[in-house]
């Protein structure tokens, strides 16, 4: 049995035992991948990941709180009473809580087009260190029937100044609602602390196949990862919509001392997570060479056909004489 199994078991037991608090030093994140096959059947893909369809076709996003650094195998937390901050595309902020039925999950309707943000903040003291964990999720709602106008204003990320630590996925210059992160793309993040760029934060990118890379944020709080190419199937097995998950984890340690919930701490450990998906690059399956060759072939053949057809018709009539 691999280590992931033990990690899942541990997270399951922890989930059973702990109802209101989370182990401080663990990594928590919000995921739209359902924990069971039955739940997965209720989901359908959309431009912003998996959704459920509600009344009048309105998309409903469902997110589960997970624990661990593996985008695929991380365990699902059963119960949690942390307060969630929900931000709709109009930047209206409201509070939510996990439903805690079978899992610590949350569901929200997405009536408007754009990005919905959800922040879960957990604070715990362990060995004199205050662990501040923020699990962030950014979910896109887009349906082509709503049109494609005003994309640039709706595509911008939300900056939550009150978040103790935040991770922002920067938008690419030509990003639209249909854009996907693909292998070879450069994905940039900005790390913010109370709304200000945070230099020196360690940002780790983990993919579901186990590739991981850690970078330190620069003076503007930025890091950039080039997404790994890790999909090499046989041609007949190739799926260009093959979706793989990644998890970005930013950590920062400060020596700030203070008191939290009546308990003293001598340092603060900030951690923020954000998950996403990436796909195979179009360069893996699209060919300019063949395209241009086929186009030129059609052009040349049809051109010569017309040329010789016209030449044949221009032949001078030769009289035939009999006898």
């Amino acid at each position: 049995m691999n280590i992931n199994f033990y990690r899942m078991m541990i997270s399951f037991l922890l989930g059973m035992l702990l109802t209101n608090s989370l182990p401080a030093s663990q990594t928590y994140w919000l995921s739209d991948i359902p924990p069971t096959k039955e739940l997965a059947k209720k989901m359908r893909p959309s431009h912003g990941g998996l959704v459920q369809r509600g009344k009048r076709g309105m998309y409903i996003k469902r997110l589960w709180l997970r624990e661990g650094e593996d985008p695929l195998e991380s365990g699902y937390i059963k119960q949690n009473s942390a307060s969630l901050v929900f931000v709709n595309p109009d930047k209206k902020i409201s509070k939510m809580t996990f439903r805690n039925k079978d899992y610590a999950d949350v569901a929200f309707k997405m009536p408007d087009e754009g990005f919905y943000n959800l922040f879960m903040t957990n604070r715990e003291i362990e060995n004199g260190v205050l662990y501040v964990s923020v699990a962030k999720n950014e979910s896109l709602n887009h349906s082509c029937r709503a049109g494609h106008g005003d994309v640039k204003s709706k595509i911008n990320p939300f900056y939550y100044d009150e978040a103790p630590i935040d991770i922002i996925r920067e938008r690419r210059s030509r990003e639209t609602f249909h854009s996907r992160i693909t292998s070879g793309d450069v994905v940039s993040f900005t790390i913010l602390r109370q709304g200000k760029p945070l230099p020196g934060a360690l940002v780790k990118m983990v993919t579901q196949k186990g590739w991981a890379k850690t970078l330190k944020s620069d003076s503007e709080g930025r890091v950039a990862f080039e997404m790994i190419r890790d999909y090499y199937p046989q041609w007949h097995e190739f799926k260009r919509r093959k979706m793989e998950g990644y998890l970005a984890i930013a950590e920062y340690k400060s020596k700030d001392a203070g008191t939290y919930a009546g308990e003293k701490f001598s340092a603060v450990h900030y951690k923020v997570t954000s998950s996403g998906n990436y796909f195979p690059s179009a360069r893996d399956y699209k060919s300019y060479l063949y395209g241009l060759l086929i186009g030129l072939f059609a052009l040349t053949i049809s051109g010569f056909t017309v040329y010789f057809y016209r030449r044949r018709r221009l032949k001078i009539y030769k009289e035939k004489r009999f006898g």
Partner: protein
């Protein structure tokens, strides 16, 4: 005053007017996106949706195929309202200019006219179809329209692969050529991600190659096969802009037929019908400009004459040497 305006319009140099209007609309539909112009996604012309940043609106055939592929359960639910709303917007746009969308606004049509102008400059004669060829070829656009509707519905019903999505767009030369004007060459590729995609993109590139040869020797080559033209014709009867003919004034001189890029014989032969618009017509109005008979051919907008054939206008255009081919 009104009479002077009418005389001025009826004597105008249509060829020059059309050239500049086509250029203006080409810029609007191909580069309008850079100026934040968005005319919506239900335009009755090939303002290609694959022209990522530059498009000033989207050709209706793209969302139509997209919507029809949603499946019967979705189409016959609330989502069907969105499909009907899209169609309604398309009809409203179409009713305003009727088939003049083809003759004046279509970027792919404009590109074909530019290729024709190049051929003329090179002194190469154009080709024309025989009546038999014409009769058979004009059916292709209806076949393409039917396929364009039923293949997406088949995708939604699980009969065809999703890789066949937007089947007409895959073979439309507008997809491969129009984005080139904004520096996007990404549509000139063959997609090897699946056999279906590979076949569809190969067909697209073959049609692109044929498009260049065809439109070089045959005026408005692709318009004979355009399913948008077929869809237009089915809705053209109640449109606001109408092409009319007064058969009693027609002498069957054939000038209108000889200038027609689409080889529409009825424009000269039919002296019985008032509404003379045919399915291949692109409403370029060259026929009106070439007609020497007073008030024989005219174009009306909501019953008001916009442009009509006049003797003076004909003579003026002849004198200027601007007679359209």
């Amino acid at each position: 005053m009104v009479n002077r305006i009418r005389t001025f319009i009826n004597s105008c140099d249509l060829r020059r007017f059309r050239f500049w209007l086509q250029l203006l609309l080409f810029i609007l539909l191909v580069y309008g996106g850079y100026a934040a112009i968005n005319l919506g996604q239900n335009l009755p012309t090939f303002s290609c949706g694959y022209n990522q940043d530059g498009k000033g609106g989207v050709c209706y055939l793209l969302p139509l195929q997209h919507q029809l592929a949603r499946g019967p359960a979705s189409l016959f639910s609330w989502a069907g309202i969105a499909v009907l709303t899209g169609f309604l917007y398309f009809v409203i746009w179409f009713f305003v200019f009727n088939k003049a969308w083809c003759g004046y606004a279509c970027p792919l049509g404009t590109i074909q006219d530019w290729i024709t102008a190049l051929r003329k400059k090179m002194g190469i004669p154009y080709a024309s179809y025989t009546w038999e060829q014409f009769r058979h070829l004009k059916k292709i656009k209806y076949a393409l329209l039917v396929l364009m509707i039923f293949i997406p519905m088949g995708i939604g019903s699980g009969i065809f692969s999703h890789d066949m999505a937007t089947p007409f767009c895959m073979i439309c030369p507008g997809r491969t050529i129009i984005p080139l004007f904004t520096g996007d060459f990404s549509q000139l590729t063959i997609d090897f991600s699946s056999k279906t995609k590979m076949i569809m993109t190969t067909l697209g590139m073959l049609v692109t190659g044929l498009f260049f040869t065809g439109s070089f020797i045959k005026k408005r080559f692709f318009c004979f096969f355009c399913p948008m033209s077929a869809l237009h014709y089915m809705l053209s009867k109640p449109a606001f802009l109408k092409l009319k003919k007064d058969g009693s004034k027609c002498t069957k001189c054939g000038d209108c037929y000889s200038v027609c890029d689409m080889q529409i014989k009825e424009i000269a032969d039919d002296v019985d019908n008032i509404n003379i618009l045919q399915d291949d017509c692109i409403m370029c109005l060259k026929c009106i400009s070439a007609c020497p008979e007073e008030g024989c051919l005219k174009v009306n907008f909501l019953g008001q004459h916009v442009f009509e054939s006049t003797v003076d206008g004909y003579i003026k255009r002849m004198e200027k040497g601007n007679k359209s081919e």
